[in-house]
């Protein structure tokens, strides 16, 4: 197929699949812990950081955005954990503020930054450096999930019980949020600020329609996530001018509806 003769498509496929795996695995934990909005908040903070870095003409905006978003992840987690401030309101404040700062800074400095590209993503934004970062990231996420699978289950299912048995749950929470931050910063330039959080939330939520056990939810999420990203990339390649981020999200929505329909069917047949 001639699709592989374009190096940008190959890059996008590699990064897309790797990010899809990370998003799916982390997404299961985030969705089940009711931290879904963290992904959304982080992508907006990432947008703000990238815009500011681009305006300042820094050579590698990614290396500015990464630490900023990791810091934001830590604070968002603390806000959510403590539950003192209204967590969802706090996340909404942070994400809209970051978005506003990003747009403001970018507009003041003229339109040399492609806002559209940041918002909705582009295959062309994927660089060789992204491949290395996402490969390392995916390796870390996979190793952590394989080695600490049982503990991740315990902390996600019942944090109090896990703490009572001596697991240091805050270490797990911080690890998950830092990995999420990196995943989002790497993935958002391809999928877009507004759409990357869908990649975190959709696969887990979709899988939970049919799969009722933790292990099957994890496996199904990875499959759904990777399949949607690949399908989205091919679609946006064959239909020019179709933004890849939106296509991937639409595929995710389609699979979600399909899974929902199947789960309803299962329910109906069980009742009979």
């Amino acid at each position: 197929m001639d699709i592989f003769s374009y190096s940008f498509m190959v890059n996008a496929l590699i990064v897309g699949v790797l990010i899809a795996i990370c998003c799916a695995l982390l997404g299961v934990v985030l969705v089940l812990k009711r931290y879904s909005m963290i992904g959304d908040g982080l992508s907006h903070v990432g947008f703000g950081a990238l815009s500011v870095a681009a305006v300042l003409n820094l050579s590698a905006p990614l290396y500015i955005a990464l630490p900023v978003v990791i810091l934001a992840a830590y604070f968002l987690l603390r806000i959510t954990e403590k539950g003192k401030v209204n967590a969802d309101a706090a996340i909404a404040l942070i994400s809209s503020s970051a978005l506003a700062i990003g747009v403001f800074v970018a507009s003041i400095n003229g339109t040399n930054i492609d806002l559209q590209q940041y918002m909705f993503g582009s295959i062309l934004a994927v660089s060789k450096g992204d491949i290395i970062i996402s490969a390392v990231l995916t390796f870390c996420v996979l190793v952590i999930f394989v080695l600490f699978y049982n503990k991740i289950f315990a902390v996600t299912f019942d944090e109090n019980f896990a703490r009572a048995t001596g697991i240091r749950t805050s270490v797990y929470n911080i690890t998950v949020s830092v990995l999420t931050a990196i995943t989002i910063v790497v993935g958002m330039r391809m999928l877009g600020t507004l759409l990357i959080s869908a990649l975190v939330i959709f696969p887990a939520l979709t899988s939970m329609r049919i799969c009722k056990r933790f292990k099957s939810v994890v496996i199904s999420s990875v499959i759904v996530s990777v399949a949607c990203v690949i399908a989205g990339l091919f679609t946006s390649y064959y239909f020019e001018n179709v933004p890849v981020g939106a296509t991937i999200v639409i595929y995710n929505l389609g699979v979600f509806l399909l899974y929902t329909a199947v789960s309803l069917l299962i329910k109906v047949t069980k009742k009979k």
């Binding site: 299912f157 109090n160 019980f161 048995t165 001596g166 939970m208």
Partner: protein, 246 residues
């Protein structure tokens, strides 16, 4: 021989003292019920015993080879997401995570122990069932089984029958009683005072003004416990029996 010795324990949140200078002892084989009105620090005490919150002062001493992480804990169920995808087996096995520090996977002996305990609490047939599809009573047995996996000798239950219907509660209490007779030491927080008195050997009453710790018999004859009616008090001239007759 005492399993747990609590001495002058003071607990609270953000400078506000909730449990003040509490003293009690739990011996191996005891069944201690912690009762009291809302807001008197029952759940705070549970968190303190588990080490989930830091104590302000006092001591919690464990003996006979158990540590804080070897308490089998059964928390309030409303803290667990109702739609969480998990099989009974996955949940039960997670009880073992305290026993091996560096073990990443479950061992064969742990799996056998889990099977034995699932058999014991009557959920062996539900091993591969989905947790969220079980009845409240069955879910509570699953969580009890997980607690037993984590426990060496001592289990700590925080209002375990909340949300259960009367039959399921009675079943659950029956199972607890049996386990206690088999040698499991039980500490149970309960707002079901009559149920607690019927089952337990010792009572810890947390009140706004005064607390009480002693055997159930002592409690029933204390000023705090006098107002409570139960069947089968062992003494003949006891006010409880007279109340019952009237």
């Amino acid at each position: 021989m005492s399993l747990l010795n609590v001495c002058d324990l003071t607990l609270g949140y953000e400078g506000k003292i909730i449990v003040n200078k509490l003293r009690f002892t739990v011996n191996s084989g005891d069944f201690l019920s912690i009762i009291g009105e809302n807001g008197t620090g029952k759940t705070t005490l549970v968190k303190g015993l588990l080490g989930l919150i830091n104590k302000y002062s006092g001591n919690i001493e464990f003996s006979e080879g158990i540590t804080q992480s070897h308490i089998g804990y059964l928390g309030q169920k409303n803290l667990i997401a109702r739609d969480f995808p998990a099989s009974v087996y996955e949940i039960v096995m997670s009880g073992f995570l305290n026993s091996k520090r560096f073990g990443l996977f479950y061992t064969k002996s742990q799996k056998e122990e889990a099977n034995r305990l699932m058999e014991r609490v009557g959920i062996a047939k539900l091993k591969n069932a989905v947790f969220s599809e079980l009845s409240g009573g069955q879910q509570q047995r699953v969580l009890l089984c997980r607690a037993l996996c984590a426990a060496k000798k001592l289990i700590l239950l925080d209002e375990p029958t909340t949300g259960l219907d009367p039959i399921a509660s009675a079943d659950f209490y029956g199972l607890l009683s049996e386990l206690n007779k088999e040698g499991v030491t039980v500490i149970m927080v309960s707002h079901d005072v009559t149920g607690a008195i019927r089952m337990s050997s010792h009572i810890l009453y947390l009140g706004k003004d005064a607390s009480f710790f002693g055997t159930t018999h002592q409690y029933l004859h204390s000023n705090i416990g006098k107002s409570i009616m139960v069947e089968g008090c062992p003494c003949d001239s006891c006010a409880h029996k007279q109340k019952e007759v009237l």
